[in-house]
């Protein structure tokens, strides 16, 4: 040995420095990994928020509108038939024409009428129905601008210059003119939170998808949590240890790794084609996502049950509790925090899942907001996918805004899980 003349203490001393150095390096790598992760999260959030926050505002144009009975083509406001057929957009057109009197030519006029969204007609209709006295009266109103105008107006002050897109110079001139007389402004985009999907970006909202997600998740948790916990309890506490249970265990672990689109195909084949559950509805979505989240919940629940100290089981059996009582009184309450964590992880996965839902028709374009478990609906991630696919420039910010809503949904669920766990957790 080269350093055999060193004493014990000296050798320990020299190795100490090396050990501490290794520890320091390890700490550094750990901190670096966390810093990298945080950086990515910050980048992601800044990107999404900087792109999406504008979607929460909407450009409105102020116009003097006259509810002219002859333009509308109605005689009686209380006749719903007439109201349905009434030409409210015609009223908007008249208002625009009187605001910009010098516009002539078919194309120019069409451009002019396009300043205001088609949705404005519905606003007027609602106002008139609510207050029939407005017929033949004039009022000054803020009306939703078209998405091109919206995109242009939002980018008007940006460093890169205004986004023009398909806008003609004439239209830009009109908007600038309106802006000078303070007849254009940004208001909170209430449509985004109260409406379903639409082909018109300025009218499209997230509520339909959010409700669809909510209903789907309710089905998923209502089915997968009890089934998963029951399966885990049976496998851990009651099932004999033999080749069959080994086989089941291996297969549950395999299922957790199966690509989710396979579950979609399974759902299509079984629930829709065989059991004839209607397609595109939260029930079938929830069933498919239940299949997908079950393995996650079973695995984490089993781990939580295994972590319950055997001494507690012994104690309960020792005073004469039946196996069922041991489970209900002691094992389940003690394992509940762990099971909930697993369930929430499963739910978060289900909330973000797109692929299997595409297979069962939840990718459809649905304007109505679902009111129940059997109404056709879509879900948040599918809505994001649909909007990201749309050609209109204005859908870009909607996509980011929808991602923000999805993230908010997730954060809310995780917070709920943490609170529940804190309340259920027991100190030893």
């Amino acid at each position: 040995m080269a350093d055999s003349n060193l004493s014990h203490a000296e050798r320990i001393q020299s190795s100490l420095a090396k050990r501490y150095r290794a520890e320091k390096h390890f700490k550094f790598y750990g901190a670096a990994a966390i810093a990298f992760g945080l950086l990515c999260v910050v980048l992601l959030f800044t990107d999404i928020i900087s792109k999406g926050y504008k979607a929460f505002g909407q450009t409105y144009i102020q116009l003097e509108v006259t509810y002219d009975a002859s333009t509308l083509g109605i005689t009686d406001v209380n006749d719903s038939q007439q109201i349905v057929l009434a030409d409210f957009h015609g009223v908007v057109k008249t208002a625009l024409k009187s605001r910009f009197v010098d516009v002539s030519g078919r194309k120019a006029k069409r451009d002019l009428y396009g300043l205001i969204s088609h949705g404005a007609g519905y606003t007027l209709r609602d106002r008139l129905v609510a207050n029939p006295k407005l017929l033949n009266q004039t009022e000054t109103l803020w009306l939703v601008a078209d998405d091109d105008i919206d995109t242009y107006y939002k980018s008007i002050d940006s460093d890169a210059g205004a986004f023009v897109g398909r806008m003609s110079e004439q239209r830009q001139g009109w908007v600038d003119q309106l802006a000078q007389s303070d007849d254009v402004k940004m208001r909170l985009n209430r449509n985004f939170f109260t409406q379903g999907d639409s082909r018109e970006p300025e009218l499209a909202g997230i509520r339909g998808a959010a409700m669809g997600s909510l209903f789907t998740l309710i089905i998923t948790i209502a089915l997968s949590f009890p089934i998963g916990v029951a399966a885990a309890v049976y496998l851990e506490e009651f099932a004999p240890q033999n080749r069959w249970t080994d086989l089941i265990e291996v297969n549950i672990n395999n299922l957790a790794a199966v690509p989710s689109i396979i579950f979609g195909l399974l759902g299509l084949a079984i629930f829709i084609n065989f059991f004839h559950v209607p397609r595109s509805v939260p029930v079938v979505g929830g069933l498919v996502l239940t299949l997908m989240t079950l393995p996650t919940i079973i695995i984490s629940s089993r781990a939580a049950i295994k972590a319950v100290p055997p001494s507690i089981r012994d104690a309960a059996i020792g005073v004469g509790a039946s196996p069922m009582q041991v489970v209900l009184h002691h094992v389940l309450p003690l394992a509940m925090p762990g099971m909930l964590t697993g369930a929430i992880i499963g739910m978060a996965q289900a909330l973000g899942e797109t692929a299997p839902l595409l297979m069962i028709g939840m990718v459809a374009f649905i304007v109505d907001i679902p009111g129940g478990f059997t109404d056709p609906s879509t879900v948040l991630p599918v809505q994001i996918f649909l909007w990201a696919d749309s050609p209109e420039r204005a859908f870009m910010e909607k996509t980011s805004a929808a991602i923000m809503v999805l993230l908010a949904f997730l954060i809310f669920m995780n917070t709920l899980a943490v609170i529940l766990r804190k309340r259920l957790e027991r100190r030893w």
Binding site: S311, D314, A315, I317, G318, G320
Partner: protein, 292 residues
């Protein structure tokens, strides 16, 4: 130089000891039948030809012993000799171990413990158990004691339950310390208090027999002394079988002592006799500390 010395020491010391121990054990034959007085007239419990297996491995070999009414019997022996296994087969706690199999006849008041008519849940209400590590439920002190009575429906009114809790805690010597904090978690007590709480929990359902599996091994000497006092008091009302690693404890608390060795019951005698004049060589070797 240094290296050499170290290796020399390690080569010499432990292996030599281990070898001599092994030789000693192999030299001594087991007696055909248990020596001493394992069998009693009019016993509370009796065990005949008991064998216990874990899978293919036999842990208990042909044990015959009786336990008398209101008797405290101590089971001693080196680690792994099967005394805990034997204790746990008395109230069928071993049922929860899947590979475990018990043969032979065990009776409580003449009723076969392992017969089809004997319900394990009912049996455990009659044969209570206190474990090695204090294991109170993560509930309040009150709920810990009240758990058993509630399970078996022993109290119909709250006042009755309160009374059971008070009597049990008093008998377990914990009432004075716990009466003002019944609504606090049992896990917040000290180790010795927790063990007394577990005893209170066991006696709350008024069992006929209490099995204690090394109840003091996780406790300090003062807490141990309290538990030992308690055992002496409890023996007036209950039959107690206690497994212990401490020979002094066996000598202090028990009427009879059973010595187990590698799954065999070697000797059962009056405690005093076991510790002063052991009949079998193995018993003598153990109590004089030649192995343990």
């Amino acid at each position: 130089m240094v290296n050499k010395m170290v290796t020399n020491i390690s080569a010499k010391m432990p292996t030599g000891l281990v070898q001599s121990k092994k030789e000693k054990m192999e030299e001594t034959a087991y007696p055909e039948d248990t020596i001493g007085t394992p069998l009693l007239e009019g016993s509370k419990m009796s065990m005949r030809n008991v064998d216990v297996f874990y899978g293919d491995k036999q842990a208990i070999f042909n044990v015959n012993v009786d336990v008398g009414q209101n008797e405290v019997i101590a089971m001693i022996g080196p680690s792994g000799c099967g005394k805990s296994t034997f204790l746990r087969s008395i109230n069928r706690m071993n049922d929860t171990v899947e590979s475990c199999r018990v043969t032979g006849q065990l009776t409580l008041d003449g009723e076969d413990i392992y017969s089809a008519q004997m319900d394990p849940v009912a049996l455990r209400a009659r044969v209570g158990m206190v474990f090695q590590k204090p294991n109170p439920f993560p509930k309040t002190i009150y709920d810990n004691v009240a758990y058993g009575p509630r399970l078996h429906g022993l109290a119909s009114r709250r006042a009755e339950l309160d009374e059971i809790v008070e009597i049990s805690l008093t008998r377990a010597g914990l009432w004075a310390e716990a009466k003002d904090r019944l609504d606090q978690p049992g896990t917040g007590l000290s180790g010795g208090q927790q063990q007394r709480l577990c005893i209170a929990r066991a006696i709350a359902i008024s069992p006929e027999v209490i099995l204690m599996d090394e109840p003091c091994s996780a406790l300090d000497p003062i807490a141990t002394a309290k538990i030992e006092e308690l055992i002496a008091e409890l023996s007036q009302n209950y039959t107690i079988a206690i497994v212990t690693h401490s020979m002094q404890q066996a000598a202090r608390v028990s009427h009879r002592t059973a010595y187990f060795h590698l799954g065999r019951l070697v000797e059962v005698n009056e405690t005093e006799k076991v510790f002063t004049a052991p009949e079998h060589q193995l018993t003598e070797a153990y109590i004089t500390g030649r192995f343990g």
